[in-house]
């Protein structure tokens, strides 16, 4: 028995929208591309998102997740990308100027790949109940929102009948509606912050339209029930997120859906020395989405958590194009850091690499730290203002996307770019 040995220039890991876009982009520039996906088919998380709201920027219409995925998969099938499904990578080793990758699959057994560049498009995972320190018993009936979504939409089972939802992120809101439509009673959505963390349209369409109450500055602290969940204790918090004593209340329920955030996933490459950004939990990248490790690129939710799939596809294209440039030996000369102040939660990319071109245009993705009205976003460099834009309102859940164009001769390359958002006094 021999193990299959394969070779290509670029390996894309993950066939969600990001990975598909990256693979097609690199393929269309004539590079050999292998795409590896752990699941049995392409599409990633889109396959379980049967609600609509996908693709308005890219396709100009409101699609549901599987429809968006279908369109992308058709494009993939029209390319010469070699895709392996149901295949899991078990190890990645970095050699001098290439990578060796071990993978397994039930069809092919073990295989080894030799590639020159890797694009990570592995999506994200959900933060668990334990990661937010829920206490009390550990019964069944506690689901992360994505798991509940999979159980309902892909398996056809009901997580529970009386549900409390913790966290007002988009997936939690969507699940509040989904559970209601399946006949479960959703008792309420509890959010520790004083504003919801999901998109406004989801608050309206998923909660208000169904009369589901949203409780802000209130959170679940303990679970009760030795076997199946029987109740939860909720508690109010003050402005500093400290529990307010005496505000405890017990709610009888059999299910808790935890929707408390997503974390970019790249466990596989942890050992390769990649530097991470504590704000995004993803790798630190330049505008080509290359990490500090030459030849390793990252896109989609593996880079930072996106709220719109259209941007995810775009990021895949950027990484795919850039990986080709990298293989063609286009090497950036100098890096400029993008530094954010306390008004900003995170930014992608975190650095800009200057190449031989005279001008550059690149998309910046920015999340504000808090909701601000009538505000102005500013980018400065060595005291010079490079960019300003006014916003009626910025909210953390809604990512800001701007296009930054600069003439390199005008940039003071020894100084970082400083980015801030300020409320304008009227």
């Amino acid at each position: 028995m021999t193990s299959a040995m394969m070779q290509s220039q670029i390996l894309v890991i993950g066939a969600g929208p990001a990975g598909i876009a990256a693979a097609i982009a690199a393929d269309s520039k004539g590079q050999s591309v292998i795409l590896i996906e752990r699941a049995e088919s392409a599409g990633g998380i889109l396959n379980q998102c049967i609600h609509d709201g996908f693709g308005s920027i890219r396709f100009g219409e409101q699609l549901c997740g599987p429809e968006y995925a279908y369109k992308e998969i058709k494009r993939l099938e029209g390319s010469s990308v070699i895709a392996y499904f149901h295949t899991t990578i078990t190890e990645i080793r970095r050699e001098e100027d290439f990578f060796l990758i071990d993978a397994v699959s039930p069809k092919k057994g073990t295989m080894t790949l030799k590639v020159e560049a890797i694009i990570l498009a592995t999506g994200c995972r959900e933060r668990s109940a334990r990661q937010i320190f829920l206490q009390g018993d550990r019964p069944s009936g506690v689901f992360t929102a994505g798991l509940a979504q999979y159980v309902i939409n892909c398996m056809g089972y009901l997580p529970g009948k009386r549900c409390v939802i913790l966290g007002s992120g988009d997936i939690g809101l969507i699940m509040a509606r989904r559970l209601t439509l399946e006949g479960s009673s959703v008792l309420g959505v509890y959010e520790i912050q004083n504003e919801p963390s999901g998109l406004s349209r989801n608050i309206v369409q998923c909660l208000n339209d169904f009369g589901i109450p949203l409780h802000l500055s209130r959170t679940v602290i303990e679970l009760h029930g030795k076997h199946r969940l029987e109740s939860v204790t909720i508690m109010d918090v003050d402005e500093n997120r400290q529990f307010i004593k005496g505000s405890e209340q017990i709610i009888t329920c059999d299910t808790l859906i935890v929707s408390v955030g997503l974390i970019p996933e790249h466990d596989m490459v942890r050992e390769l020395g990649i530097k991470y950004d504590p704000h995004t939990s993803g790798p630190i990248v330049d505008q080509t989405y290359m990490s500090n490790v030459p030849g390793i690129f990252c896109c989609g939710n593996a880079l930072h958590v996106n709220d719109l799939v259209d941007y995810v596809t775009e990021s895949g294209e950027i990484a795919g194009d850039a990986a080709v440039d990298y293989l063609n030996g286009i090497i950036p000369r100098k890096k400029i850091e993008l530094i954010i102040d306390q008004s900003i939660g995170s930014i992608i990319p975190q650095t800009i690499s200057l190449s031989a071109t005279k001008t550059f245009t690149l998309p910046l993705f920015i999340r504000s730290k808090r909701t601000m009205r009538k505000s102005i976003l500013r980018i400065t460099n060595g005291g010079n203002e490079l960019f300003t834009k006014r916003f009626n309102v910025v909210k953390p859940p809604e990512m800001i996307r701007i296009d930054l164009s600069c003439e390199i001769s005008k940039v003071q390359t020894d100084f970082p770019f400083l980015i801030s958002i300020k409320e304008e006094r009227s």
Partner: protein, 571 residues
């Protein structure tokens, strides 16, 4: 004799404003009355233990409340394997399993009874997995003797069972200069207890060289090279599987409800699933062992319960510390009868922090609370690299403690054919092999003429751990069994094949937690958010039960509640 009772009565009268009644029953002392706090309740018990050792029956209520009684299992849920055995063991924890495995070497029929749906559902899956060196207990105690013997036995047992064991050694950090003069005394104690390996004092500099990330807030450390670590449920399952492989029966979901005796002999036990007769009855019921003694009409000791909370850090930190490190508690209080917590690098690569110690008035309240973390964060600060955000999970366990804080392992003083194993708190796991040996000795004495079973097989049969195989072996294996190439749990890299293997093993797990204990699937950082659905489907397929019926840990802990609305258009 009565002097002892009168003396205790006087002490209690002086100490408490309400009347505590002392009465002697055979060799034991019984306390009755009502006190306001758990702390008073404990003081009364410990005062009695000064003269009566573990033979204290503390029936004092706390503000009118006695110990709660748990709901019992439903009658007749399944058939018993047989109705007569030479030896019956109540309890499928590490102690019951260790005893069963020892007895499986002989030509006798042995059966374990366990009220849960799996082995290792209580204390034996809720501990630190540490194989203590045997230093902490005072010389002359059962704890000290059996811990040292148990520690020594583990190297061979783990080989026979194919259970991973590490021996990283431990550092007992000395937090105060005041401890330095005690070093010769400590070395002497290690010698008296017979602790293996070269026990020695390491200067602060030597400690720093070994463990550079430890905080410098100490004056050197005692080093015990024989300290080890293993997966406590992995071990318990392996012991039980090996016993079953050698002919032992286990009845799960079977709770002992009554014990029938003919004068001073046990005849049979009545369970929710029917009667079972036996020649010897062994009480290895952990936190319920005083209840079992009571059922046998043999209540000459009682227990108290100490909860411990542990937390587990992400595997990514496994390089940050290799040795076990702890702060000793050299000045004992009630709570410190179990060794104060420490940092334990686990054989699977995670770091474990804990346990805490808190007396409670319950046998199975495993809830954790935010307050527990104050103590855990303090322990965590022993290593500069660890922080709160590294915690991936936490759990609680309950130690069952006798009133003199030593193990109770003996033939009943009254009954000819009943053996009690009680108060098996820490280092119960470390001592388990030696406890098994000791109990085997008592059983053989009761049964008389018993021969070794020539068909006994020394090694447990195991299935492959695919992620540990080399490339060539893996390639070959996957060719034969493609399901080993279908990775189901991505955090721990567990394949469908490995899950099917455990479902076809000697003790097939019937619950999701049972799968988790055997394969670690779902115990990584995602906590099963990805793998749970896949595992449910595989379980349903192998066990032939619908997904709706699969439970997390028995007792109605179903994962899903039926099917969604069928047909029509959705959301």
């Amino acid at each position: 004799m009565n002097n002892r009772v009168d003396r205790l009565q006087n002490t209690l009268n002086r100490k408490f404003t309400t009347k505590i009644e002392c009465s002697q029953i055979n060799d034991s002392i019984r306390l009755e009355g009502d006190l306001d706090t758990l702390s008073d309740w404990l003081s009364a018990g410990y005062l009695a233990a000064k003269d009566f050792g573990y033979k204290v029956i503390n029936d004092i209520t706390i503000s009118g409340v006695g110990p709660t009684s748990e709901p019992r299992l439903k009658e007749k849920t399944q058939r018993l394997k047989k109705n007569t055995y030479d030896v019956l063991i109540i309890g499928g924890g590490v102690i019951g399993a260790s005893v069963a495995r020892e007895l499986s070497r002989y030509k006798i029929s042995v059966c374990n009874l366990e009220k849960e749906s799996d082995v290792a559902c209580h204390t034996s899956s809720r501990n630190d997995g540490m194989i203590h060196p045997g230093f902490a207990a005072s010389p002359g105690t059962l704890k000290a003797e059996l811990n040292v013997k148990g520690n020594r036995a583990y190297s061979q047992i783990c080989e026979e069972l194919q259970v991973p064991l590490s021996r990283p050694g431990s550092l007992m950090l000395l937090k105060s200069r005041l401890y330095l003069p005690l070093i010769p005394i400590m070395l002497d104690r290690a010698k008296k207890n017979g602790v293996d390996g070269e026990v020695r004092f390491l200067s602060k500099r030597e400690v720093r060289r070994l463990e550079p990330n430890l905080s410098d807030d100490h004056f050197g450390a005692m080093n015990f090279p024989s300290a080890g670590q293993l997966s406590p449920y992995g071990l318990t399952i392996a012991l039980a599987e090996h016993a079953v492989q050698n002919g032992v029966d286990i009845n799960f979901n079977t709770e002992v409800l009554e014990i029938q005796r003919e004068q001073d002999r046990i005849e049979a036990v009545r369970t929710n699933n029917g009667m079972i007769h036996c020649k010897v009855l062994i009480n290895a019921a952990g936190c319920w062992s005083d209840r079992i003694a009571e059922l046998a009409g043999d209540r000459y000791f009682s227990l108290h319960f100490r909860k411990g909370v542990d937390c587990i850090l992400d595997k990514a930190l496994s390089e940050e510390q290799t040795m076990i490190a702890a702060n000793p508690i050299l000045f004992k209080t009630h709570a410190s009868h179990s060794k104060g917590g420490g940092i334990v690098p686990c054989v699977e690569g995670n770091i474990l922090i804990g346990p805490t110690a808190q007396e409670i008035f319950s046998r199975d309240d495993y809830a954790t609370h935010l307050e527990d973390f104050d103590a855990l964060f303090k322990i965590m600060s022993l290593n500069k690299r660890f922080s709160k955000k590294d915690i991936i999970t936490y759990f609680a366990g309950i130690r069952s403690c006798s009133w003199n804080e030593d193990f109770i392992i003996e033939k009943s003083p009254v009954l000819e054919n009943m053996i009690h194993i009680a108060g098996i708190q820490s280092p119960g796991l470390a001592s388990a092999p030696a406890i098994g040996e000791k109990v085997k000795g008592i059983v053989l004495k009761i049964l008389g003429d018993v021969n070794l079973d020539p068909t006994y097989s020394q090694f447990r049969k195991v299935t492959p751990n695919v992620s540990l195989l080399n490339h060539v072996d893996k390639t070959e294996l996957l060719f034969k069994r493609p399901d080993y190439g279908n990775i189901v749990c991505r955090c721990e890299n567990i394949s469908e094949g490995e899950i099917r293997d455990v479902l076809r093993s000697k003790i097939p797990p019937m619950t999701l937690d049972g799968i988790k204990k055997r394969t670690r699937s779902g115990s990584g950082r995602c906590h099963g958010a990805f793998c749970a659905p896949k595992i449910l489907s595989i379980m349903s397929d192998e066990l032939g039960i619908p997904i709706e019926d699969i439970e997390k840990n028995g007792h109605g802990s179903q994962i899903v509640m039926g099917k969604t609305k069928q047909g029509g258009t959705h959301d």
